[in-house]
Every structure is written in structure tokens, then in C-alpha cells.
């Protein structure tokens, strides 16, 4: 069992689910938790030189750059704009999940070959 992999995927999924939750019913707490989870996922992906790690890292950074401004905008009173930014982050998070699945499959083949 690889704890780091579990943690990374846990945070990616948590970021995705709380992101969806915020879009469907905008709530400040959910947005803050989404930001925190997403930042955890980004840090855990940092420096991972695996097959699709660069793409994973990039998609995570994109989500961060949408969510952090969304957090400030939401608390400054512009809820609509914050939801819009969170939708952008959701797209990046979905890509992140897809890349994560592809990477897991490719990594399995590599391990089998080795």
C-alpha cells in the first residue's frame, strides 16, 4: 500500500467533490475546504517525476489559481463570479482525475514490465 498515492488521490477527490458541492449550493465553508484540499493535492504532486505528473501538476495549479481568487471574491460579496471561477476549477479537477486514472493504468503496465 502506498500511503502517498492514497493521500494524493484522496485530496484530489475531496477537492473535486467539495468543488461540485460549492457550485450546486454556494457556501463559504465548502469553498475554503475546496481550496485547502486542492492546495494539499498540489503540494503532494510537486516533484513527482512519473509518467503524467507534469500534466497532473499543471491541472492542479490551474485549479488553485481559480479557487484562491474565488475564495476572496466570494467573501468580498460577488457570489456569482466566485461560482464561475469554481466551475473553471472543476474542469481542471476533472482533467486531473482523468489524468490520475490514466497514470495509474500506465504505471501498472510499467511495474509489470519491470
Amino acid at each position: 500500500m502506498r500511503l502517498k498515492k492514497i493521500l494524493t488521490h484522496f485530496f484530489i477527490l475531496m477537492a473535486l467533490t467539495t468543488n461540485i458541492s460549492f457550485i450546486t449550493s454556494p457556501n463559504g465553508w465548502e469553498l475554503v475546504i475546496t481550496i485547502i484540499m486542492n492546495l494539499f493535492a498540489t503540494i503532494l504532486k510537486m516533484g513527482e517525476g512519473r509518467i503524467l505528473s507534469n500534466e497532473l501538476m499543471a491541472s492542479s495549479l490551474v485549479a488553485d489559481l481559480h479557487l484562491i481568487p474565488a475564495g476572496f471574491i466570494y467573501y468580498l460579496g460577488n457570489e456569482g463570479e466566485a461560482v464561475g471561477l469554481a466551475m473553471g476549477a472543476l474542469a481542471a479537477n476533472i482533467i486531473s482525475i482523468i489524468l490520475g486514472i490514466i497514470e495509474t493504468i500506465l504505471a501498472t503496465f510499467t511495474e509489470e514490465e519491470e
Binding site: 465553508w29 494539499f40 503532494l44 516533484g47 475564495g71 467573501y75
Partner: protein, 378 residues
């Protein structure tokens, strides 16, 4: 499943020097993970804690966490932080957070400087730039001779890549404004490939040790076996070694002492005609940028064959002068006139401005028919 595995095997390529530098960059980045995780955990706990106390005031909670953990302490700016529970929370956050903050920042700075993140990134970027070079020269070994050679190459706008295994010369390379360099062992196949040997025009081997020179020459010749299209020039400690190096793959091996002696002797022998001997010397050694000599072998199917020099009048048409003709048997005809006829196997020795010589070479090899035809019509 099996097909996919096969495809992956095909996709897998040999590791390059750029890949190694990329891995080093990732390794350094990986070291940032722990301090950043520690810092992020503290910041998250602090922000959520103050948000609970203030009933969801995110911006002030984040601000309060930063001024507490960062030991700024402007006061209790968040609603609820001035209560008993708020102060207990701030106490524990400050106790744990300040330690984590200072430790994390220290580790981040140490990793950034100790692992030379900027240096590795710069080297990686340089390898990227080297990939774009074409028809350049690879100079193995950096010393005063290389530096003089670099000056002459720069004068002729010829690109070059220096390879040397000594990391301590980096400052010297930067001071000498050497644009592209690789600080690795030059005899390794991977390093020569990273220097763009497949696209290079030639290689100069000057490592100050015959054994190391041999290692580089052999590796380079294995990668570029064609002696006509890839030139290897090497330094040798004595004439015997020079001969061996040439047998092993060098186009020319030079014994520096012998070369110096020859040049000195030329000065001694031509003391009476110092200017002209010096001029020829400079042209021969590439120091004179206004005049150059070019050898141009007449192709088998060239329309120039059978023509008299006065018929093609290269001086008038292309601004270059034929000063001699080397015959197919190796003899040199120095007494040429306008009536001298160009024969099969001849090599024209052209004299003129480097720019005009380049144009002449292009026209005489690619469009000689136009030149002859144009003259005929005229």
C-alpha cells in the same frame, strides 16, 4: 493488454542528459514537499479555527493566522479571538505554528540554495537551447587555447558548445561569455549527443591528456563515422600519438609545439617580406576576416569543364580570383592565365572576400550552367 505493453515498450526511449537534469529538478522540487505540507497544515488549521470562532469570516481568519504564525501579532483582529476559547486557540496555534513556520522557511531556503535549483534549471535551459544549434562545433576541454579559438569562431559567427568535466570552471566560462557549455565528462556518448553531435559540423578535442582525447575521438567517430561530413581535430602530445589519433578517427591531430615551431620558422624564413608572409599566415590561420581562400573541386558533370578562365571571368562575374589550380594528380598549377582551361578533377583555389567566396561557392556548385550560359549570351 499485450498490445498495450508492446506499444509502451516502443514508446520508451533512451535517457538523455536533459532527462537527467529534469529528474534533478524534480528531486529538488520533491524536497519542498514536506516544509510546504507542514506550513499548509498550520495555515489551514489556523484559518478554519478562527473561522469557527468568528462564524465564517475567511479573510480576517486567514489574516489572523498569518500574523500569529509569522510572529507579527498586530492584535486580535478576528471576532471571537478575544474570548477565552479564542485565546486558548491562539496560544496553541502560536506555540505550534511559529516553530513550523520558521522550520519550513529555513528548509525551503536551504533546499533552494544548497541543491542549486537555479544552476540546475539554467543547465537544463541551456541544453534546450543547444538542441536548436545546427552546423556548430563542439569544443572538448576548456583552456587558454580554447578561449582563443572561441574568439576566432565568434568572429566568423560560428556557434560552438564547450564540454568540460571541471565544475569549477563555470565562473571562468561565464566571464568569457561562453554561451553554451556542458559541465560533464566529454567522452560519454550521452554528453556528446546532448552537445548536438548529430547536427554538429565538427569537434575539437583538447583535454590535455592523450588517453582522454582518444576516448572522446573514438566515441565521437562511432556516432559520426563519416570523415567527410564531420571533422575531428585533436591535440596530441607528440607526432607518434598524432598519427595514432588520426588512424583512430581524427581528421587532423595537431602537436602544439610543432605547430608553433613551424609558424615561428615561417617568420624567420620570410623576414624580408614580413607583410605578405604575415597576411598569408593570417589567412591560413583564419585570423584575417576580410580575405579568405577557398578550395572548390570541379564536379564531374560541371559545365565549367573545358572552359577557359577568361571565358567565365570569375573576377568580373563573382568578385573572386582564381590564384591556382590543383590538378587531379595533386600538383599545383600556379602559373595560370586567362587561357588556362578547366579540366576534369581540377580544384580551383579561389581568393577573395569571405562573403563573395560563399556566394561563388553556391553559384559554382549549384548554378554553374547559368554562369557559363550568361557569359556565352553576353
Amino acid at each position: 493488454m499485450a498490445r498495450l505493453r508492446l506499444k509502451r515498450k516502443k514508446l520508451r526511449r533512451k535517457k538523455t542528459l536533459k532527462d537527467i537534469y529534469e529528474e534533478r529538478l524534480f528531486e529538488i522540487l520533491r524536497q519542498f514537499q514536506l516544509p510546504l505540507l507542514m506550513l499548509h497544515t498550520v495555515m489551514s488549521v489556523g484559518t478554519i479555527g478562527y473561522m469557527i470562532l468568528s462564524d465564517g469570516d475567511f479573510i480576517n481568519s486567514l489574516y489572523m493566522t498569518i500574523i500569529t504564525v509569522g510572529t507579527i501579532g498586530y492584535g486580535e483582529v478576528v471576532r471571537g479571538s478575544d474570548t477565552l476559547i479564542g485565546r486558548i486557540f491562539t496560544t496553541f496555534l502560536a506555540l505550534g505554528g511559529i516553530g513550523v513556520f520558521t522550520t519550513s522557511v529555513t528548509i525551503l531556503i536551504r533546499v533552494f540554495f544548497a541543491e542549486d535549483f537555479v544552476g540546475v534549471f539554467r543547465a537544463w535551459k541551456m541544453l534546450n537551447d543547444i538542441e536548436k544549434l545546427r552546423n556548430h562545433y563542439i569544443l572538448c576541454g576548456f583552456n587558454r587555447t580554447t578561449l582563443e579559438l572561441i574568439k576566432l569562431l565568434k568572429k566568423r559567427k560560428i556557434n560552438y558548445v564547450v564540454i568540460d568535466s571541471r565544475k569549477e570552471i563555470e565562473r571562468q566560462l561565464k566571464e568569457s561569455r561562453v554561451e553554451y557549455y556542458i559541465l560533464e565528462e566529454p567522452y560519454k556518448r550521452m554528453i556528446l549527443e546532448a552537445a548536438g553531435i548529430k547536427r554538429a559540423k565538427g569537434l575539437v578535442v583538447n583535454l590535455g591528456d592523450d588517453a582522454r582525447n582518444i576516448a572522446v575521438i573514438v566515441t565521437a567517430r562511432l556516432l559520426r563515422p563519416d570523415k567527410e561530413n564531420f571533422f575531428i581535430f585533436s591535440f596530441a602530445s607528440n607526432p607518434e600519438t598524432a598519427q595514432k589519433l588520426e588512424e583512430l578517427g581524427a581528421n587532423r591531430a595537431i602537436v602544439p609545439q610543432k605547430l608553433l615551431a613551424t609558424r615561428l620558422a615561417a617568420y624567420i624564413f620570410h623576414t624580408g617580406s614580413a607583410y605578405i608572409s604575415d597576411l598569408f599566415d593570417k589567412i591560413a590561420f583564419g585570423e584575417e576576416s576580410e580575405i579568405d581562400i577557398l578550395e572548390l573541386q570541379v564536379a564531374e558533370d560541371s559545365p565549367l569543364i573545358g572552359k577557359k578562365l577568361k571565358e567565365i571571368d570569375l573576377r568580373k562575374q563573382l568578385g573572386v580570383t582564381v590564384i591556382a589550380i590543383r590538378k587531379s594528380d595533386g600538383s599545383l598549377n600556379l602559373t595560370i592565365t586567362g587561357d588556362t582551361e578547366i579540366e576534369l578533377g581540377d580544384t580551383l583555389i579561389l581568393f577573395g572576400h569571405p562573403k563573395r567566396l560563399r556566394v561563388a561557392q553556391k553559384i559554382l556548385t549549384e548554378r554553374a550552367r547559368e554562369l557559363v550560359g550568361g557569359r556565352d549570351e553576353a
